[in-house]
Symmetry: C2
DNA sequence: GATAATAAATGTAAAAATTACATTAATAAT
DNA sequence: ATTATTAATGTAATTTTTACATTTATTATC
């Protein structure tokens, strides 16, 4: 019987454990990723995701939130694990496992000075430059996951301001799904989900007429979920 | 500027990296999980998932497949990452990150002697005993993921023999979804997906009349995917 | 060899959801 | 008052999903 299995108290080798973060934002009608330009050698000038090693006494999740807060000044942000990247040769230096998270942030909320000070830049997801190590793969997987998930869970709202208009929301889904949606059907569908609160305010930044602002009703959504409710946006 | 971030070449602390595996099977009309009873101290007699430490020169994924092969004798099995479990206090011994995979196996294929020799047992998913450490949480998450995923991806077939009948397939989806399905609508739906190959053979083990055997057409499925095909079983 | 028993297989109508599509409404600028 | 522009609305056709009952193939038994 192999000796390597289930032997929690005779562990063999230690490795470095890092966490990297895909930070998505929505701005100017585009879905964007925040990437970081290395300003130190080696690999100076290469683009990469933002990350950190995980401290010995620190939850992986806490480490990820620490990084995000240090970079953007944001706390209480939507963040979820994408997965662990653990190929033996993924980092040519030391053997390092990276646990990747993706975060969705409201692009107007973050601390722009802080972000700039870290050499970070937003790229349209269609124009993200080549990234260091296996970060390209992480990005590709994260984008896929975001696209899949947006369909069945109300994560899109994490990318919009708290108050948003239906046309804004539609544009967001259009860039996520990479296809045009019919305005009438989209509005009908969204309103039929019963989780939008119409406000008595308009956003006039994009039209003379102005568009009504809405909020997403998290409470209602949670309630509905309990009774077999199905959120889906096609 | 914080010193802890993106400093890949001044890593701080090493940790143990393990991989644990949720092994699902379908037998006697029940969805089952393979769990392992510790036969050595400490924690002798406690149930846990099957796992191993990851070797320094080994991909995490390879480690997981190694474990699965050592335990079941199976290779080329459906396996996917569930995620990394990295709470600082999850293992009271050493700081260990566990990367959890879930595997779907054909319950008639595995090496029963080998499995028994490792003190492993199949439990109906509704009767899984308390598991060691955070393995309960892993199991709960894995089951959720399996349920979600079964709906939009043809993973159910991984749990059935290569040749299966429609009623078998229906029963599988019934136990995954925990609800009864209408036989006529289920059959209609499945056949309309155009990815089942009807064979000229019957399985007579459950009825006098016998039920036709089918195979899942992976090639066709892959082709269809490319042209915007939507697999969904409700 | 007729009959009984049993699970497999099939069809159709009603209801619900999705799609396609064109016009009117509100407002600010000229 | 007119123009320009985006927001907002409704309806009919199509597709998908649901609900529901009978016939078919076969083996065992009388």
């Amino acid at each position: 019987m192999p000796e390597t299995i289930i032997d929690f108290y005779k562990p063999s080798d230690k490795m470095y454990v890092a966490t990297d973060c895909l930070i998505f934002g929505f701005d100017e009608g585009q879905l964007k990723l925040l990437v970081f330009k290395r300003r130190v050698e080696p690999r100076r000038g290469e683009w990469s995701l933002i990350g950190s090693f995980v401290n010995l006494d620190e939850d992986v999740e806490v480490a990820a939130k620490r990084v995000l807060a240090e970079i953007t000044g944001l706390e209480n942000v939507f963040m979820e694990q994408l997965g662990a990247y653990g190929a033996a040769g993924r980092d040519p230096g030391y053997r390092t496992i990276s646990i990747v998270q993706y975060a969705l942030i409201r692009i107007n909320d973050y601390d722009k000075k802080l972000v700039e000070s870290h050499g970070a830049h937003w790229f349209d997801i269609n124009e993200v430059p080549e990234l260091v190590l296996d970060h390209d793969k992480m990005f590709a997987h994260g984008l896929e996951k975001l696209r899949r998930k947006a369909r069945y869970q109300p994560i899109g709202f994490e990318l919009l301001p708290e108050k948003f208009t239906i046309p804004q929301l539609q544009k967001l889904y259009e860039v996520i799904y990479q296809k045009e949606l019919d305005g009438r059907n989209f509005r009908k569908k969204l309103l039929s989900l019963n989780v939008l609160i119409k406000l008595n305010e308009k956003d006039k930044s994009t039209s003379r007429r102005g568009a009504f602002l809405y909020k997403f009703d998290y409470k209602k959504y949670q309630q509905l979920l309990k009774s077999g409710y199905n959120f889906e946006i096609t």
